[in-house]
Symmetry: C2
Subunit: 230 residues, 2 copies
C-alpha cells in the first residue's frame, strides 16, 4: 500500500482570500498606518460583496493589524515607537523560551529546514527583493517557534510576526536604497546547529537588537515631527 501525505486543501472561501489580500497589502505597506478602509470601495475593487469583506476585516482586527471604531470605520493600526519597543521586548522573552523548547527537539529535518530558509533569505537578498527579504527572514526566525511544539506559543509568535513584518516594511520603505547587511543570519544559524543552548539564546537577543535599534530610531524620529494637523 502506498502511503501518500496529502496536505489540507486550500480554503476556498472568498473571505479567506480577502484576508490574505488585505493582510499582504497592510504588511507590505501598500496600506499606510492610520489609513481608513472604505468597505464599499474595496468591495467594488475586489468584486465581492461587503459581507465577506467585513468578516475578513473582523479577523484582521482581532489579529491586531486593523482597528475598528463602531460607525466610524476600520483603520490600519498606527505604529508608535512604543509599540515597536513593546513587541521587541516581548519578542526577546519569547525567543529565549522558544530556543529552550526547540533545543532538545532538533534533528536532521530541523537542520535541513534551517538551511533551506536561510538560503531563501540569501536568495531574496541577491534579488534585491526587500519585501521578500523581510518575509523570509521572519520565516527563518519562526522556525524555532514551529519546532518548540507549543501551539499557544506558535500562535503568539504568528500574531507578533504580523506586526514585525509591518514595522520592518515601513522601515524599508523609508530608506529605499539601503539593503541590510548581506548575511546577519550566518551566526544565528550556526549557533542553532551548535551545542551551546545559552549561547544561541544570547545571540538571538543581540541579533534582534541590531535590526530593532535601527527600527526604533526611525520610529522615534517620526514621532519627533509634529503631525500635520493645523
Amino acid at each position: 500500500m502506498v502511503k501518500t501525505d496529502f496536505s489540507p486543501i486550500a480554503d476556498t472561501t472568498r473571505r479567506a482570500e480577502i484576508v490574505a489580500l488585505l493582510r499582504r497589502a497592510i504588511l507590505t505597506g501598500q496600506l499606510e498606518p492610520g489609513q481608513k478602509l472604505n468597505e464599499l470601495r474595496i468591495s467594488e475593487q475586489m468584486r465581492v460583496s461587503r459581507a465577506p469583506l467585513r468578516e475578513a476585516m473582523r479577523e484582521l482586527v482581532q489579529e491586531g493589524i486593523l482597528t475598528s471604531i463602531p460607525y466610524a470605520g476600520t483603520f490600519v493600526i498606527d505604529v508608535t515607537a512604543k509599540d515597536i519597543d513593546d513587541a521587541y521586548s516581548l519578542n526577546k522573552v519569547l525567543d529565549e523560551f522558544a530556543i529552550e523548547r526547540t533545543w532538545p527537539q532538533r534533528d536532521l529535518r530541523f537542520f535541513d529546514e534551517l538551511d533551506r530558509r536561510h538560503e531563501a533569505v540569501k536568495q531574496a537578498t541577491r534579488d534585491l527583493d526587500t519585501t521578500r527579504q523581510i518575509e523570509t527572514a521572519l520565516q527563518l526566525h519562526g522556525l524555532i517557534y514551529e519546532w518548540a511544539d507549543n501551539s499557544v506559543l506558535l500562535e503568539t509568535w504568528q500574531r507578533l510576526t504580523s506586526r514585525l513584518q509591518m514595522y520592518f516594511a515601513l522601515h524599508q520603505q523609508a530608506r529605499k536604497e539601503a539593503v541590510p547587511a548581506e548575511d546577519v543570519h550566518e551566526t544565528y544559524v550556526r549557533l542553532l546547529k551548535g551545542t551551546d543552548c545559552q549561547a544561541a539564546q544570547r545571540h538571538a537577543r543581540e541579533h534582534i537588537d541590531l535590526d530593532f535599534e535601527e527600527l526604533l530610531a526611525y520610529a522615534r524620529s517620526l514621532e519627533q515631527r509634529p503631525s500635520k494637523g493645523a
Copy 2:
C-alpha cells in the same frame, strides 16, 4: 475646572453584544468543547440576523476559542491536556516577564487595586460562586499585565486568559462540590507588595503550579478514556 475621567461609552453594535454573549457562554462551559454552533438557530434565539452573528464568530475564531472549517461549521475548540500544558508553560514565562516589568511601576494605586481584586476573589469564594471565582482570580492575576505597560504583552495575556478561564471552568464543572482552598492568593499578594522581585517571580510560578497540576491531571484522565466513537 473640574476634571472628570470618562470611560469610553459602550460599543452599541449588536456584534459587540453577541461577542460578549458567546464568549461568556463558552468560557462558563455552557457551550461544550467541540460543540458546533448552528448559525440559524443561534441567530433566531438572539433575534438577530446571521450577518452580525457571523462577524462575531469570526472574532472569536481569531481569539482562539472557536475554530472554523469552511462549509462545515464553527466549533468550540477542543481542549487537550497538551493545550493546557502549552498554555501553562507559556504563562510561566509571561508571568516572570510581567512581574519584572511591573515591579518598578508599582505605586499606591497599584497596591489599592491589588487589594480590591483580592477582596473580590475572597467575596466570590464566600458566595460559593465558582464561575465568578475563576473570573476574579484571573483578574487579580492580570493586574501585573495591566501594569507592565506593554500593550503587546497585555493582548497576549488576554488571549491566554480566555483559554485559561475555559479550562478552569471545565475543571470546576467536573468536580462540582469542591471549592478551592480559601486563600491561595494571600502569599501572592503579599509578595507583590514586598521588596523581593525574584521571590515574587518564583512564587508566581509555584502558585500557578498548584492550580494547573490539578487541571492537568483532570485533562489527562479525560484523555485516558477512549471517546465514544465505535
